[in-house]
């Protein structure tokens, strides 16, 4: 979408134009869901936080000042909500996840329940994907957030550092360390 078209879309969304907000859902919901799913490790939690993210969008879009950083603004809302949830859960102590299927990854990612057979190349890809998912879950929260914001929100590291309130060098060093850990977990040799 052209920049001017996008600006128009945001202006309409600010006026709470239903069609414009619907378009923002189409444009952003899949990526935000992906981020939230990986951050929380649960589809159920991701769905809930996705709703909360867009409710916030409807209520507070006036506060967003257009400077070409709408993605950063919206993904920051989602990441903050995920962080708040994690904090609350920590305070309540360890809990049993209701959808352990996601957390244990007993199904190959992308497979619908009941579908068990895949061509071998796809199976390999699914397996390494699973390995990567599991390794990501072992990262500490901030490292995981840095990697996932880069991947899903496509934010430059500078903006990720701003979002998390850390220096750029720290964000890069953390990302580097996290990726090294992931490569190790997947048996990929260092570059």
């Amino acid at each position: 979408m052209e920049q001017s078209e996008f600006e128009l879309l945001l202006r309409r969304a600010r006026l709470r134009d239903s069609a414009a907000l619907d378009e923002l859902v189409t444009l952003y919901a899949p990526r935000i869901f992906g981020l939230l799913h990986r951050l929380t490790g649960s589809r159920e939690a991701a769905e809930e936080l996705l709703q909360d993210t867009f409710l916030r969008l409807v209520r507070t879009i006036d506060q967003y000042e257009h400077s070409g950083r709408f993605d950063a603004w919206l993904f920051r809302i989602a990441a903050n909500l995920a962080r708040d949830r994690a904090r609350k859960r920590k305070r309540r102590g360890p809990q049993l996840s209701l959808d352990t299927r996601d957390d244990t990854g007993s199904l190959a990612p992308g497979l619908e329940p009941g579908v068990t057979e895949l061509p071998s190349a796809d199976l390999e890809r699914a397996e390494s994907g699973q390995q990567l998912s599991a390794a990501l879950e072992q990262l500490n929260e901030i490292d995981r957030e840095i990697i996932l914001l880069r991947h899903y929100a496509d934010l430059p590291f500078r903006e990720i550092a701003e979002t998390l309130g850390i220096p750029l060098g720290t964000a890069l060093a953390r990302a580097h360390r996290a990726l090294k850990h992931l490569r190790g977990a997947m048996g990929v040799e260092d570059e």
Binding site: L57, L132, R183
Partner: protein, 145 residues
């Protein structure tokens, strides 16, 4: 220093290729449908709230003007404080009270709009009635000045 950071950033960007192996995780059709419905409902709710607020502000302004006119034209008082005060002082006091009242009313509407669950505590018609009643009482008090 910046050169070092640039180099590190380029290296990390290259390493990020690994993450492309991450399986896609997409919301289901049902989730998307529910999300669209939620956003639509919230939009309608938001617009209704804004209309109510703006209507209330207009109504408040008109009521204040009418009450002021009535008070100034027919107002008599038995209160010693008011009787002793100059007309300018009475009017100034009333204007201050009016501003406070207006602020409180606006706050009630703003604050009762719950960001947490997308509902307004004023959804209960009883509470709205109470609010209007107290508003009327305030105007009656003005009339009795």
């Amino acid at each position: 220093m910046w050169n070092e950071l640039d180099k590190l950033e380029q290296a990390v960007e290259r390493e990020m290729k690994l993450i492309s192996q991450l399986p896609e995780s997409r919301p289901s059709m049902t989730t998307m449908e529910r999300l669209r419905r939620t956003v639509r409902n919230e939009t309608v709710h938001y617009r209704t709230q804004q209309r109510t607020l703006s209507g209330l502000r207009n109504w408040g302004g008109i009521a204040a003007a009418v009450a002021l006119a009535i008070g100034l034209t027919f107002g008599t008082t038995t209160s010693r404080d008011v009787a002793d005060a100059s007309p300018e002082q009475v009017l100034a006091d009333w204007a201050t009270a009016w501003d406070e009242s207006h602020d409180r009313l606006t706050n009630v509407f703003d604050e009762t709009w719950s960001l947490a669950d997308g509902t307004s505590d004023l959804d209960d018609a009883g509470e709205i009635d109470e609010l209007f009643e107290s508003w009327d009482t305030a105007l009656d008090q003005f009339d009795s000045l």
